[in-house]
């Protein structure tokens, strides 16, 4: 009887050890996941630039809004500030932010993101989700019909990133993938 209990304990310890070992990411895999999350932020940067551009056809902008929205977790918010009142930051639902961006009252809009990097590295949470913060700098320029620059600012923004390992069946195969979702995008600084 004692031996049976001993075997059960050994089995449980073995299974837990094996699960923990599989759960630990090697530095190479962690680096791939880090890059994937950064890539999603770069995708967002591209989408924002396309949505904001007055040269983008309406149908294309709407398609890109759908893609951009898919990058975010439900109910995420994006902060908007102005150089005229830097401390007054308004937060919009992701969809509303993009629709507002598409309709900005300028003849030409240029949006550029740079210095995209981790402010805090992806850290594993008790539920298995990896959470980190990526900082970006956004340069916004708005021109009038005469091509004059009538507004510009630079904002530093923090984007929370959530990465979780998931599985799905495709063509009878079980595919393990990393689901990267962006959370709130908070304004940290606004300057000219």
């Amino acid at each position: 009887m004692k031996i049976t209990y001993l075997w059960i304990v050994v089995l449980i310890v073995g299974i837990s050890f094996s699960a923990t070992a599989q759960d630990q990411l090697s530095p190479e895999r962690k680096q791939a996941v880090d890059s994937l999350a950064l890539e999603k932020v770069r995708d967002l940067s591209k989408y924002i630039s396309i949505i904001g551009s007055k040269e983008t056809p309406w149908s294309e902008a709407n398609r890109v809004i759908d893609r951009a929205e898919e990058l975010f977790m439900t109910d995420s918010e994006i902060g908007v500030s102005s150089i005229n009142n830097p401390n007054d930051i308004n937060y919009y639902n992701v969809r509303k932010y993009f629709e507002r961006l598409m309709r900005l009252n300028y003849k030409k809009v240029e949006i550029e993101w740079y210095n995209i990097e981790y402010m805090s590295d992806l850290q594993k949470q008790p539920d298995g989700t990896y959470v980190g913060v990526i900082t970006i700098f956004q340069k916004f320029k708005g021109y009038d019909a005469e091509g004059r620059l009538i507004y510009q600012d630079t904002t530093k923004k923090d984007i929370t990133v959530f990465v979780k390992r998931k599985e799905t069946q495709i063509g009878g195969r079980l595919i393990g993938f990393w689901d990267v979702l962006l959370g709130d995008m908070r304004v940290k600084e606004t300057s000219k």
Binding site: E28, R29, K46, R67, I170, G171, G176, F177, W178, D179
Partner: protein, 220 residues
């Protein structure tokens, strides 16, 4: 007088014979002893040499191949040395050789699989190169209209706009890590938006009509 001389001569002969017999017996005994001592010394040397060789094989400090180690081990086994240390070393070395042989076989198998996989990829690469070129061409289109036309043409090769596209982001220890799966329609538009194609086609699945039903890419 003559009798006395005869007797003395007989006695002398007897004494001589006794001395010879005793001498030869003693010499025989000492030869056997020497032989025993020699055999014991040879056995001790053999045991010592066996211990040295077995320890070296166990520590991996020889430059013998696995086959050479096997030959030496079998030769030591054939001595039937009755020494607990040697017996223990023999069993340890036998286990080590068998483990190393299994590992060598596993590595050879792995190497052969890698070679086969590389050959398969070499054979498939011209087919995939065409798809890579098409996807790259969408990403380098100069206008939205040009990109849309290429997307429409490319879509013809796929069984439906919802054909799954799997993107491998890393491969380590036999594990593929993927990005969130997408569809071909979304992926082609993504290339148009990003103006960048930094993947290579890893595998393609087709239906009976030759249309692509699954596309697997790997991030460069």
């Amino acid at each position: 007088m003559s009798i006395m001389v005869k007797n003395a001569s007989r006695i002398t002969m007897l004494v001589l014979a006794t001395i010879i017999i005793l001498g030869s017996a003693t010499s025989c005994r000492s030869k056997k002893k020497l032989a025993r001592e020699k055999a014991a010394a040879e056995y001790a040397t053999k045991v010592e040499q066996a211990k040295n060789d077995l320890t070296a094989m166990l520590n991996g400090s020889t430059n013998w191949s696995l086959d050479e180690q096997d030959v030496r081990l079998n030769s030591i086994k054939s001595y039937n040395i009755d020494d607990p240390e040697v017996i223990d070393l023999i069993s340890k070395v036998a286990a080590k050789i068998s483990m190393e042989r299994a590992e060598a076989e596993r590595l050879a198998e792995e190497e052969s699989l890698k070679r086969e996989e590389a050959e398969r990829k070499m054979k498939e690469s011209p087919k995939h190169q065409e798809i890579d070129d098409q996807l790259n061409s969408i990403s380098t289109s100069t206008t939205i209209d040009a990109a849309n036309k290429k997307i429409m043409l490319s879509m013809d090769q796929f069984a439906s706009p919802d054909v799954p596209v799997l993107i491998i982001i890393s491969q380590y220890g036999g594990i593929n890590d993927y990005d969130r799966p997408t569809t071909i329609s979304k992926f082609l538009n993504y290339l148009k938006d990003k103006k960048q194609y930094k993947y290579t086609v890893e595998s393609v699945k087709r239906d009976g009509l030759g249309k692509i039903t699954e596309l697997e890419l790997i991030k460069k």
